[in-house]
């Protein structure tokens, strides 16, 4: 045994190093490879051109999520390019025998929602996908990160990757959240604090009592947006919350194998005395609901604050960036963000499209109505989330409130499928990116939590969810 205290990341890394040649990156074994329609076609083409095959189709799983319409499944794709891309995924998976949860499959959904839901995502694993939000799976204590299409091809061909060992970054979140403040607000506060490049070259490990108190779905929300803080991956040590979530899932170990797996997983958390390359501490009890005002996820403020004034910026590049962001967003320096009118509210995505997110939104909307002139779209993260929501009657609450209840997919988070903002429209969105045009060319995004989004839909403007009647009871609604 290695007597040196190690972090969670180091343990997973050490468990997966296959070879280390002088002058070359490590060859890192990949346990699980997730594939979707957008970043895989050129990788499969590359395999064919080189005469290679998929080495471990049984460690690979595919779904169609990014470009699929969220209109009723019986309707045809309106976009021939999207249709061709999804058909190509079907053909590639058939040719290389990769299990596919495509349109019509009961397990179809956003790739980062279905991995955990199926029990494929497990502690101690290395997980990759041609998608930057692969960091989501870190919530289970897995080293999970996004890769490019060249790397997708490498993993398909070899079930391994060339990687340099990442540096480690401790994110300790102490204290307890107040009702109305949620996991989304923790991660938005972190990114506002360290900036969108703050974690570059590092892997976050989220620790502390506020993290321990979160459910798995809330932990996924946090790990999901690690990439928005510049870190390719973000992990949380597995604990009883993790094991309870996984127990009985279709692809989780069963019987004696389960007990052996849990025993191994209990050895994963960071050892006492292990050190991190960097560290930051956040006090959860001091957090307010967060909302972004600008054009990157680091431009976030507590919801009762005012939009920053570029003139007050201490350096020229920050001033330029702020001026540009406020011009794009058409917001005034120093104005309140509360009360800013919105046109669209979007609840969904790999950040906040799971059942507990929808339960919170339904609790906030129950007996209320979306404001006149506001379009509210609620898009479940997976077909299973959709079925569960309908079993619980959430869809009826949404419809009664005047919201649209749609089919599963990435939808307006990436706006590839026709679900998008019109130029100039404002949206409160539970997704992860507020870049210029991200939700449709010319569209303006305020990133926020599902509770803030639901409160804003009712108000027709950015609204503080802490002021919702009965917020203590609403905030207590959760899940696993």
């Amino acid at each position: 045994m290695d007597p040196r205290p190690r972090t969670l990341v180091e343990k997973i890394w050490d468990d997966h190093v296959v070879a280390e040649d002088e002058g070359a990156p490590s060859v890192l074994a990949v346990d699980l490879h997730l594939v979707h329609e957008v970043t895989s076609p050129q990788a499969f083409t590359g395999l064919r051109e080189r005469g290679l095959t998929v080495r471990h189709p049984e460690r690979t799983v595919a779904t169609a999520d990014h470009s699929v319409p969220t209109t009723p499944r019986g309707l045809p794709f309106l976009d021939p390019l999207a249709a061709a891309q999804v058909q190509q995924l079907d053909a590639n998976c058939r040719e290389f025998r990769i299990p596919l949860h495509g349109i019509g499959d009961p397990s179809q959904g956003i790739v980062h929602v279905i991995g955990p839901q199926l029990g494929l995502t497990q502690p101690g694993m290395t997980i990759v996908c041609g998608d930057s939000h692969t960091s989501t799976h870190g919530a289970f204590g897995a080293l999970a990160f996004g890769i490019g299409t060249s790397e997708v091809e490498m993993v398909l061909a070899t079930q391994a990757l060339l990687q340099r060992k990442p540096r480690t970054y401790e994110v300790r979140v102490d204290g307890a959240l107040v009702p109305g403040v949620s996991a989304k607000d923790i991660i938005l506060a972190l990114i506002a604090r360290i900036g969108v490049g703050g974690g570059t070259g590092h892997v976050f490990e989220y620790r502390g009592e506020a993290i321990r108190a979160l459910t798995m779905e809330q932990r996924m929300t946090i790990c999901n947006m690690s990439i928005e803080g510049g870190a390719r991956a973000g992990l949380i040590a597995p604990d009883d919350t993790t094991f309870e979530y996984l127990d009985g899932r279709p692809h989780a170990p069963h019987g004696p194998a389960w007990d052996a797996a849990v025993e191994a997983w209990r050895a994963l958390p960071t050892d006492d005395g292990a050190t991190f390359d960097r560290s930051v501490v956040i006090d959860a009890s001091a957090l307010e609901p967060m909302v972004t005002y600008g054009t990157n996820p680091g431009m976030g403020i507590p919801i009762t604050s005012r939009v920053p004034d570029p003139a007050a910026a201490t350096d020229a590049s920050t001033r330029r960036a702020l001026e540009r962001a406020l011009e794009y967003m058409d917001l005034r320096p120093g104005q309140a963000i509360l009360g800013q009118p919105v046109d669209v509210v979007f609840i969904g995505s790999c950040t906040n499209g799971r059942i507990s997110d929808l339960r919170l939104a339904a609790a906030a909307l129950k007996g209320r109505h979306v404001a006149d002139g506001v379009r509210m779209m609620i898009v479940p993260g997976s077909d299973e989330v959709k079925r569960e929501a309908e079993r619980e009657g959430l869809h009826e609450v949404f419809r009664a409130a005047g919201a649209e209840w749609r089919e599963a997919g990435c939808s307006m988070c990436i706006a590839m499928n026709g679900d998008q903002l019109s130029p100039g429209q404002y949206a409160v969105s539970t997704s992860n990116r507020n870049f210029e045009g991200r939700q449709g060319k010319g569209g303006r995004t305020f990133l926020a939590s599902p509770l803030t989004a639901a409160a804003s839909a009712v108000a027709g403007a950015v609204a503080d969810p802490r002021l919702l009647p009965g917020i203590e009871a609403v905030a207590g609604i959760g899940g696993r």
Partner: protein, 210 residues
């Protein structure tokens, strides 16, 4: 197979914005392609064209007179933040960009760029400011990028050194793909796997039924 990466000289396209994200480099609606064709037209699309496909006024820097054919893109801090789309370096390469100069890059973008003959050069803030000043002073300034020597030769004859991953450098100079190296490692990978059983089986028939 990529071409070997050779030393070259070019004038510079200056784009002084920080945190340029991959949604600006290639908007998501252009990710529906199943090959790499046509991505040069998608490069910085929404900073170049309005909703009707007409050039925005004032013209975006890439479209200004004299910018065509320039192979060096000088940008603000933390370039390539956001998504993992390799379409971003594909589009840059298709446009003819062979090197980007910034103070830093998002991890996935850097990795993707190196695999596509787009050299992500990181320089210190002082050098960065100096290069912008140089290009503002004389937009016709030419830089020579020498990967083998890891240097940028400035018009005044001085050289700025830069770091690059030794392995990525070797791959670029040889014009080889990393996948070839990994495929050669397959016997080692197989031996490792023989000692480390699979952690999961994704096939539907492997799923437990309740």
């Amino acid at each position: 197979m990529p071409e070997p990466y050779r030393s070259f000289a070019s004038k510079v396209v200056p784009l002084k914005r920080d945190n340029i994200d991959t949604d600006q480099i290639v908007p998501a609606r252009f990710l529906k392609v199943t090959d790499k064709a046509g991505l040069a037209d998608a490069l910085f699309r929404d900073w170049r064209f309005d909703e009707n496909g007409c050039f925005l006024e004032p013209l975006f820097v890439l479209d200004r007179p004299g910018m065509a054919g320039r192979a060096i893109l000088l940008v603000g801090d933390n370039f390539g933040t956001g998504s993992s789309r390799e379409h971003a370096p594909w589009a840059l390469a298709a446009w003819g960009i062979r090197a980007v100069i910034s103070t830093g890059y998002a991890d996935i973008f850097r990795s993707n760029a190196l695999k596509n003959g787009v050299l992500p050069i990181a320089v210190d803030p002082e050098t960065h400011a100096h290069l912008f000043a140089l290009v503002e002073d004389d937009p016709e300034s030419e830089l020579r990028i020498d990967l083998a020597e890891q240097g940028i030769l400035l018009p005044d004859g001085t050289t700025v050194e830069f770091d690059v991953d030794t392995f990525a450098k070797l791959m670029l100079l040889r014009g080889t793909d990393e996948i070839g190296y990994l495929v050669e490692k397959l016997p080692t990978i197989e031996a490792w796997e023989a000692r480390h059983p699979a952690r999961v089986d994704t096939r539907p028939e492997a799923a437990a039924r309740d």
